[in-house]
Symmetry: C2
Subunit: 170 residues, 2 copies
């Protein structure tokens, strides 16, 4: 593939994925190579952030499936989701620039769930699982050894949304 | 540490590192968590990009050493360097934003050299090694197994600049 074709393919991919995230009121923090880093905040009258994150993860996999069929491609993506407290701030160097972003162990682990996810699947940590399991079917995976984490951690593959209406907290 | 202290520490760290990169005419592509992604282009009358990259990597480790001594901290960083053709373009989604950046296998491998570097060291690939070995002392490391790369690859730890004046191509 020529460089221009790679850029067009990647932008076309992001053009399909970002609206799926936006439909669940995610913020796109940044693109890192072919990856998207997205954040879900709590909002009044919206479904809880973990549920919106998992639902959009599953929707991204479906959207990619359709996009592949249309394009004649067979791209696969991994998705990782983690829930918890992050440090949010304007981070960078005064000599170059600063970007409003989030950092911390919770963010690092989200990336590690992504890296450990089976291709084409959505992998979440224990806290995300417990906060969404009434609405999502999961399969547990073998305990994961995460880089920089001494104890193996529980992780779950999201399979599909359950056929229940998600309660809206209000 | 409180969130504000973490942000201040990280920004202070970036404030020390970025000028070291800028002194070698690097471009700061982005910050990713506590990481800096930087690019080195060829310029007329400048030392070759691979040499400037390795020299700034060693200088960053020295600058961090001084910064730790001053702050009473003991942060350590890994640095990975790779040389080759990249795809450069304005990448992202028209629905959100696009960022001028580089992508491709050469970039991915740089990240993997970083992840595989011993703490406090600078790890480079074979091509960087061959392009800079007249000016830099290296120690070879055992062949590295990189994620997503079938064959193990050669890698070298940069130890110090040799006591020679780098030739300026003109």
């Amino acid at each position: 593939m020529q460089p221009m074709e790679i850029v067009e393919l990647l932008n076309s991919f992001f053009d399909v994925m970002c609206p799926v995230l936006k439909a669940e009121a995610a913020d796109i923090d940044k693109f890192i190579g072919d990856a998207i880093m997205a954040l879900f905040d709590e909002f009044p009258d919206a479904d809880p952030a973990p549920l919106r994150a998992v639902r959009s993860g599953l929707a991204m996999q479906s959207a990619l499936h359709e996009w592949n069929a249309k394009k004649g491609t067979s791209l696969q993506i991994r998705i990782g989701i983690n829930v918890g407290q992050v440090v949010r701030g304007d981070i960078g160097s005064k000599h170059v620039r600063r970007d409003y972003t989030v950092i911390g162990d919770v963010v690092n682990r989200a990336q590690r769930f992504e890296a450990s996810a089976p291709r084409g699947r959505v992998l979440v940590g224990a806290r995300t699982y417990f906060m969404t399991k009434d609405f999502v079917d999961y399969e547990p995976v073998q305990q994961l050894k995460l880089k920089g984490v001494s104890e193996p951690v529980d992780a779950y593959v999201a399979i599909r949304m359950k056929d229940v209406k998600a309660a809206v907290s209000s």
